[in-house]
């Protein structure tokens, strides 16, 4: 799957599942950029059907509602929605 990588300080594996049209996903990207950490993201609405199905299954494991944004940290923590405090805490950002 095509993930876009944003360079920055390594704070673990941070993956953002987003929609290109969503305001809260945009805010999440901006927050991660502002934090200056390394992360990957994918805009699910821009994927081809088959890829989209695969990614949705991946998201469902973490967030059964498959809503956006969904952030997964180190394959162990999942933050659903835009919540600055929770995202910072999950990646250990002071």
């Amino acid at each position: 799957m095509r993930m876009t990588h944003a360079k920055g300080n390594k704070m673990g594996k941070v993956v953002l599942y987003a929609l290109s049209t969503c305001g809260w996903c945009r805010k999440t990207k901006r927050l991660l950029d502002k934090m200056g950490i390394e992360y990957s993201y994918v805009d699910v609405d821009l994927l081809e059907d088959k890829e989209e199905d695969e990614v949705m299954k991946e998201i469902e494991r973490w967030n059964p509602k498959c809503s956006f944004p969904t952030v997964v940290v180190n394959n162990e923590k999942c933050i659903v929605g835009f919540n600055e405090e929770k995202i910072k805490k999950a990646v250990g950002y002071e």
């Binding site: 290109s20 049209t21 305001g23 809503s67 956006f68 835009f82 919540n83 600055e84």
Partner: protein, 170 residues
């Protein structure tokens, strides 16, 4: 298709229209105009992609009849406005938020049920009817407006949702 295919003029035009309609109907757009316009750009992008105004913060499936509930304004807007002061994407906000008395700090939980549950629910709830009424009663699924007439109106006079968003209420 990237959302940059939509011109600033198109976004501004729809913003003005929605803002006017919202205020006339007792609703309010997000006072963060830049944020609101980004969402409107998303709605226009979805219109080009799918042919309908899918919520910019939800993934549309491309089949209108299955996505009627998330066509903006969505079926969940008014409940979310009451409970959270904003709709799911935050294009619409409560009066308190609009006046700056309440601040929005993050997104709200998704009220729409997952696809599997939606399919199940659809097959489980047959419509009730009161056959003695002289006319059927139609309910706007967006704002709850009720009217008794042969057919629902083309557009909801309160929230401007289209005819297809009405359900037979009685």
């Amino acid at each position: 298709m990237s959302s940059t295919d939509i011109s600033a003029e198109e976004v501004d035009r729809l913003y003005e229209r929605l803002n006017k309609e919202a205020e006339e109907g007792g609703y309010h757009l997000n006072p963060d105009v830049e944020f609101a316009k980004d969402l409107i750009r998303g709605i226009l992008t979805n219109e080009k992609r799918y042919g309908y105004w899918g919520c910019p913060c939800r993934l549309a499936c491309g089949r209108k009849e299955e996505d009627l509930d998330i066509i903006c304004p969505c079926d969940y807007r008014d409940t979310d406005l009451s409970e959270h002061g904003m709709c799911y994407c935050a294009l619409y906000v409560s009066e308190a938020v609009e006046k700056g008395e309440k601040e929005l700090t993050g997104s709200i939980p998704e009220r729409r049920r997952p696809a599997k549950e939606r399919k199940k629910a659809k097959s489980e709830h047959p419509r009730k009817s009161v056959s003695s009424l002289p006319l059927p009663v139609w309910r706007c699924k967006v704002c709850g407006y009720l009217c008794a007439r042969e057919e629902p109106p083309e557009v909801c006079p309160v929230c401007k949702a289209k005819k297809e968003r009405f359900e037979r209420f009685m």
